[in-house]
C-alpha cells in the first residue's frame, strides 16, 4: 500500500458514499482540508461522528454530504449556532439529518471503547438528563460488585477516521502534540485512517518518549497538506483563526451566502490553497 499520497487520492481510495466517518480534532487540528476534499468529491449519505461538529461538519451538512450526525455539542464555539446544522435539523435543508446525541463524556468513552476493542463503554453518565429518553443508544449495565447502575453506550467503530497532525516521517509514523483530543482513539477505533500533516520529516526519533504517536501500521494514508487545519490551528505552526470563526456566523446564516462562500472557497479550491489560508508561505 502507498502510505504517502495526495489528499484527493487518499479520500478517493478510502471514503465511499454511505460510510461512517469520524473527522476528529478537539478545536485543535481539525482536518478542514480533508473535509473540503470530501465535499468536492461529492460524497453522499455519510454518517458523520464528531464530539463538536464545528464549522467543518456545518459545511459538510450544508453541502448535503450527510444523512446522520453523531455528536455531543453542536455550536460555533464562543460565537453561537451552527446555522447549517440547525437548518438541517429544523427545516430538513438540504436534506433530512438524523441525529444521535450524546454528552462529551459518553462520546469520549465510546471512542475509548472502540480503540480498546470493546463492544461498549460504561460511565457514570446522563444522571437525571433527558438525553437517555431520546437516544436508544444510551442504555445501562449493573455493576456486579456494587449493584450500581451505570450508563452504557456502544463503542464507536467508524469506517474511516480522519485527523490532522503536525508531522509524519517517511515511514508513515505520525506525531500529535498539544491539545491531543480524541484523535488517537478515533484512529485506533477506525477500520481505516487518513492523516493530513503540516510537515513530512526524515524521522521522528527526537520526540518525547511519551508523546502522542501513531505507528505507521495504524495509518492507511498520509497526505501532506500544510495549513490543512485552518481555520482551526496547528500548535507550533499557526494559530486558530478566531476572526474566521466569528465571520462564519454571518456567512452561514443564509443559504445563498453559504452556497456562494462554499463555491468560492471550497469547490473552486485545492488542498494546496490551505497553506496560504493559514497565513503560511505555500
Amino acid at each position: 500500500m502507498i502510505r504517502h499520497t495526495d489528499l484527493a487520492s487518499a479520500i478517493e481510495a478510502n471514503v465511499a458514499d454511505g460510510d461512517t466517518l469520524a473527522l476528529e480534532g478537539f478545536t485543535h487540528l481539525i482536518p478542514f482540508a480533508a473535509g473540503h476534499e470530501i465535499i468536492r468529491q461529492g460524497r453522499r449519505r455519510l454518517t458523520l461522528i464528531r464530539m463538536t461538529p464545528d464549522l467543518i461538519y456545518d459545511q459538510m451538512i450544508g453541502m448535503g454530504c450527510a444523512d446522520k450526525l453523531v455528536f455531543s455539542w453542536g455550536g460555533n464555539p464562543g460565537v453561537g449556532s451552527l446555522h447549517r446544522f440547525r437548518d438541517a435539523v429544523e427545516n430538513r435543508w438540504p436534506t433530512p439529518l438524523d441525529v444521535e446525541e450524546h454528552s462529551h463524556a459518553a462520546l469520549a468513552n465510546a471512542y475509548d471503547a472502540g480503540a480498546a476493542g470493546l463492544p461498549c463503554a460504561i460511565l457514570r453518565g446522563y444522571l437525571g438528563s433527558d438525553l437517555a429518553k431520546v437516544n436508544g443508544n444510551i442504555r445501562s449495565v449493573t455493576c456486579p460488585f456494587t449493584g450500581e447502575v451505570l450508563s452504557a453506550v456502544p463503542a464507536l467503530r467508524p469506517d474511516v477516521a480522519i485527523v490532522h497532525a503536525q508531522r509524519a516521517d517517511r515511514e508513515g509514523n505520525v506525531l500529535i502534540e498539544g491539545i491531543v483530543g480524541v484523535q488517537k482513539e478515533a484512529v485506533l477505533a477506525a477500520k481505516r485512517a487518513i492523516v493530513t500533516v503540516e510537515e513530512v520529516v526524515d524521522d521522528l526519533t527526537d520526540v518525547h518518549p511519551n508523546a502522542t504517536f501513531l505507528p505507521f501500521w495504524t495509518v492507511t494514508a498520509i497526505a501532506l497538506v500544510p495549513g490543512g487545519a485552518h481555520p482551526s490551528y496547528a500548535h507550533g505552526y499557526y494559530s486558530r483563526d478566531n476572526a474566521h470563526y466569528k465571520a462564519w456566523d454571518a456567512i452561514s446564516r443564509d443559504r445563498d451566502s453559504f452556497l456562494a462562500w462554499m463555491k468560492d472557497n471550497v469547490l473552486s479550491k485545492r488542498p494546496e490553497d490551505f497553506a496560504t489560508q493559514a497565513g503560511r508561505a505555500a
Binding site: 469520549a108 444522571l127 491531543v180
Partner: protein, 257 residues
C-alpha cells in the same frame, strides 16, 4: 467607580465565588471570564481546567473556543479528552463546575438542547457537551445566566443537565454525593437553593435592582430570602482587571483575521 454594565456585575460576582484552592472546570463565555477574573484578583492559585484537556491553564487573553492554543501553551499539562472526562471529571478531582444554559428551572436544572419538541424543535440548541456530567461530578456547580422570563422558566422543554432534580433530597436519592448548583448568578441577582426544598431563592439583589424587576423576569413565582442583601458593587480593581482582560481578548481575536 459605579459605572458598570449588568453583564460586568454578573461576571464580577460570579468570580468572587471561586476559592484559591478550587479546581475549576471552566466553560466558554461568561464562566471563562469569571474564572480568569478570579485568578487575576483574589484567587491567584486557582486551578483552571478546560474540557479540551488543559489543566492549570493561565491564559493571558480569554479563549474564544474551549481549546484555543493559548490554553495549552499556558497550561501545566494537557491530557487527552477521554482522560479529561474519565480520570479528572468522573474521577471526582474537580471541586467546581460552571454552567449556563438557554433555560433554567426553579431547581437549577438546565436545558441546552432544544426549544420545543426534541424531534421537531423550534430551535435546535448546541446540546449538552460536557454539561450533563459536569452537573453531577463536580463538587459544586455555579450557574451564570442573564435573566429573562424566557430563560428562567416554569418548565424546561428538555432537561439536559441535572440541578436539584425535583428538589429536596432528589440528588442524594439518585446516589449523588456532590452538591449540585450552590449559586446562580444573573444580571439582576444571586439565587441560592433553599437548604430543604432546594428551590432557588433570591439571596442578594445587585445594586439598584428591585424585587419587582426580578419577579418580572422570572418565569416561576420568585421567592426572596428573609435576609435579602445587596450585592457589593464591583470594586475599581475588579472592574479594571475585567476590562483589561476583555480588551486584550478583543485585540487578540481581531488580529487573527
Amino acid at each position: 467607580m459605579t459605572d458598570y454594565t449588568a453583564s460586568e456585575i454578573m461576571t464580577v460576582v460570579a468570580a468572587r465565588a471561586l476559592r484559591d484552592d478550587d479546581v475549576c472546570f471552566v466553560g466558554i463565555g461568561a464562566p471563562s471570564g469569571a474564572a480568569n477574573l478570579a485568578r487575576l484578583t483574589h484567587a491567584p492559585n486557582v486551578t483552571l481546567i478546560y474540557e479540551s484537556g488543559t489543566i492549570g491553564t493561565r491564559p493571558n487573553v480569554l479563549p474564544l473556543s474551549i481549546g484555543d492554543g493559548e490554553l495549552c501553551e499556558t497550561a501545566r499539562t494537557t491530557v487527552s479528552v477521554p482522560e479529561m472526562f474519565r480520570y479528572w471529571l468522573q474521577g471526582g478531582r474537580i471541586t467546581l463546575g460552571f454552567l449556563g444554559g438557554a433555560q433554567i428551572d426553579r431547581f437549577g436544572n438546565l436545558n441546552t438542547t432544544v426549544i420545543g419538541d426534541y424531534d421537531r424543535p423550534k430551535v435546535r440548541l448546541p446540546g449538552g457537551g460536557g454539561a450533563p456530567e459536569i452537573a453531577t461530578h463536580c463538587g459544586r456547580v455555579l450557574i451564570i445566566m442573564a435573566q429573562s422570563e424566557r430563560s428562567f422558566v416554569e418548565r424546561l422543554d428538555f432537561v439536559t443537565s441535572l440541578g436539584h432534580g425535583e428538589g429536596g433530597e432528589h440528588r442524594r436519592q439518585m446516589g449523588l454525593h456532590t452538591q449540585g448548583p450552590t449559586q446562580v448568578f444573573t444580571d439582576l441577582c444571586v439565587m441560592e437553593p433553599d437548604p430543604e426544598s432546594r428551590e432557588l431563592v433570591v439571596t442578594a439583589l445587585h445594586p439598584g435592582v428591585t424585587r419587582e424587576a426580578v419577579t418580572e423576569r422570572t418565569g416561576w413565582p420568585a421567592r426572596f430570602a428573609e435576609a435579602l442583601s445587596e450585592t457589593p458593587a464591583p470594586s475599581a480593581h475588579e472592574l479594571a482587571t475585567l476590562r483589561d482582560l476583555q480588551e486584550r481578548t478583543r485585540r487578540a481575536h481581531g488580529e487573527a483575521a
